[in-house]
Structure formats: C-alpha cells, structure tokens
Symmetry: C2
C-alpha cells in the first residue's frame, strides 16, 4: 500500500487501463486481475471502485461516448463550408478510433452487447447522434447550394455513417497496419467528389436558414 489515490482519479485510471487492455486482447479477455495488475493494485481493489464488472463496462462506454462527442464538436467548428465540416467530422471519428483502438472492439463485441443491454444502447445512441449530425450537415450543404438535393440528406448520412466502421473493420483485420484517417481522407474525398453538386451556386443570403 504505497500511494493512495482519490476514488475519482483511480476510477479514471482503471477505465484508461481497461481501454488499453481491450485494444490488446479484446473485451472478453480483460479480467479484473489483469486490470488490477497493470494499475498496480490488487484484484479485490478494483471492486472498491466498481461494485461489479458490469459497472466498469458502463463507465468505459460513458467515456467513449463522451470523448467521441467532444471530438465531433471540435472538428465541426471553424470550417469553410458544411461539406468541409462533414469531412472534418468523419475524419475526426477515424482519428478517435486510431487513437483508441478499443472503441471498435467494444462496438463490435457481441458478447458485451448480448448480456449488457444498457451498453448496446449507449453505443447505438452514439451512432444515432452521429447520424443526426451528418444528416444536419448534409441538409446544410444542400441549403447552401453546395450539394444537389437529388439525394436525400438522410441517405447521404447513411452512406457516410457506414464509411468509418467499414474502413475500421479492414484496418483492424489487417493488424492496424495502415494510417486509418489518412486512407480514410483519400477515399472520403473521392466519395464526396462523386456526390452530385447543385447546378447553380447560390449567392450569399440566398440560402435558407439551417
């Protein structure tokens, strides 16, 4: 019993360690013993901060959801156009996954979702919020005359939504050996170029309010 940390500090430390172990071995291989050892406390000590392992997973999910939203907000600001925001937000999501590879393992884990409904709902909610964000940005792009409205904004959002987990799957399967946001940006550029542009560029003041 060397150093003694505050409960909130130790909780954060345990969550962080859990994310690292998930990235290495997958969620189901993360034991309370492994977490405790890496943190530097005993296995029983983990249960002082999380009454059951299930609560540890919920804390991990809460961190992931919060961090994702924080990154979208940062990326969504200060862009030239709604289309530029779309690109920035999607790339930010890929950067998040590359920085925290545990995320994809957690989202894909059938084991966790099958027996922890609350956890599945948390990630589903995150996906829905991302979808809503993209839909809004797509609508803005159309209202500002950047994109044609022949494709519904919801469909544009759906296409973009599949993009990150799709590429992340390949990235994970290939041993995380390429730069995810970099390759993602290249493909995203191609995809965005393909989206039909509006015939005439609306002048300032012409576009509807978002």
């Amino acid at each position: 019993m060397r150093t003694r940390k505050s409960s909130s500090d130790r909780k954060a430390e345990i969550v962080e360690t859990t994310l690292a172990l998930v990235a290495e071995h997958g969620p189901e291989r993360v034991t309370t013993q492994a977490v405790a050892t890496r943190v530097g406390i005993t296995q029983a000590g983990v249960f002082r901060h999380f009454p059951a392992k299930r609560d540890l997973w919920l804390a991990v999910a809460a961190w992931v959801v919060g961090e994702a939203q924080r990154r979208w907000e940062v990326a969504g600001r200060l862009n030239e156009s709604p289309l530029a925001s779309i690109k920035a937000v999607v790339i930010a999501q890929m950067e998040f996954i590359q920085d925290t590879p545990a995320v994809s393992s957690l989202i894909f884990s059938r084991e966790l979702h099958a027996q922890n409904e609350e956890l599945r709902q948390a990630f589903l909610g995150m996906a829905d919020r991302f979808y809503a964000l993209l839909t809004g940005l797509a609508k803005c792009s159309q209202d500002s005359g950047e994109l044609s409205d022949v494709i519904k904004p919801e469909d544009i959002a759906s296409l973009l939504l599949t993009f990150t987990p799709g590429l992340a799957t390949r990235w994970s399967l290939g041993g995380r050996s390429f730069n995810l946001p970099r390759r993602g940006e290249r493909l995203l550029d191609i995809m965005l170029t393909c989206l039909p542009k509006a015939n005439r560029q609306l002048r300032e003041g012409d576009h509807a309010q978002a």
Copy 2:
C-alpha cells in the same frame, strides 16, 4: 449413447451449432460444453472430432470462407453487365451475413484474432479476395464503357469493400432489426448512381479485353 454419426457428419453438425451459438452470444461465450449440449453429446465428445478448440475455430473459418466464395460465384454469374455483377456480388455478401450473423461476430472478434493468427489470416485473405473480385469487376465496367475511368478501379473496390461491414455494424448494433440486403441494395443503388459514367457508350467489340 443413442445415435452414432460418422465423424464428418458430426464435425459439420458441430461447426453449424458453433455458428448458431456465436450468433447468439458471441465467439468468446461459446464453450465446448454449450456446443456439446446443443448437439446432444457430452462435452468430452467434442474433443474426439476437434483435438483442441482452436481447431474448431479453424474449421468454422474454413466453412465461412468457402461459403462466401460459393455465394460470390453464384451471384457473379448471369448478369447483364459488370456493374450489375458488382451489385449482385455485394448484395450476396449482405445476404450471407444476414443468413449467418455469426460471420460478422467472427470477423470483428479481437479475442480470436489476437491469439489465433491463422484465423485472422483466413478472414484477411477472404477480404483480399473480395477486394480483388470487386477491382476486376470495376475494371470491366470501365473497359466496357459503363463507368468513367476517372476513379481508379482499386478505389471503387475500396469504397464498395467498406460498404458491407459498415452497414453490418449498424445492423448488428441495432439488434439486427432491419433487413440488411434490402437496405443495402437501396444505398448501393444510390452509391452506384453517383459513380461517374463514361461520356460515350462504347459499341460492342470496341471494348478492350478484361
């Protein structure tokens, strides 16, 4: 000891049962006991057919890879054009995942891949072969004048490759509650419409050999 089956029949039965259990609870929750119980034999009986659990996973992977290829081949035949083949093949992949939901759980499982390198390679090889198939079809579409060649066939294939796992992720997270190939077809149609068409339609005999 009621009925006694041939080893090959029993092996197939065990693999099939394993796939069902993976779809329900995830790969890591599939125990030899659970498989044995559902098959109707004792736990130790499983090890007569698979010397170690690892070998069971390899057999499962072999089935998945084989079945996927079989479906691509069927879907790739008898289409009006290379572009129609692309669509058919991608939809077939989605039908496969919907019919056998274990597939996505297996491909996404960090646990299996982290400690069974051979398994990861099997699925990576499958992805690579699908990528090669799509690249070839995209090239055909360009050579026949169906698509413009402003986008490299490899990039078209990459975009299409991310599509299935991307949508499957959403499908899985949402509790498999929508029809995967149906929604996939809708979005795929939109995506394919976006791909730049060749300016002039080449006449028969005009196009290069694939």
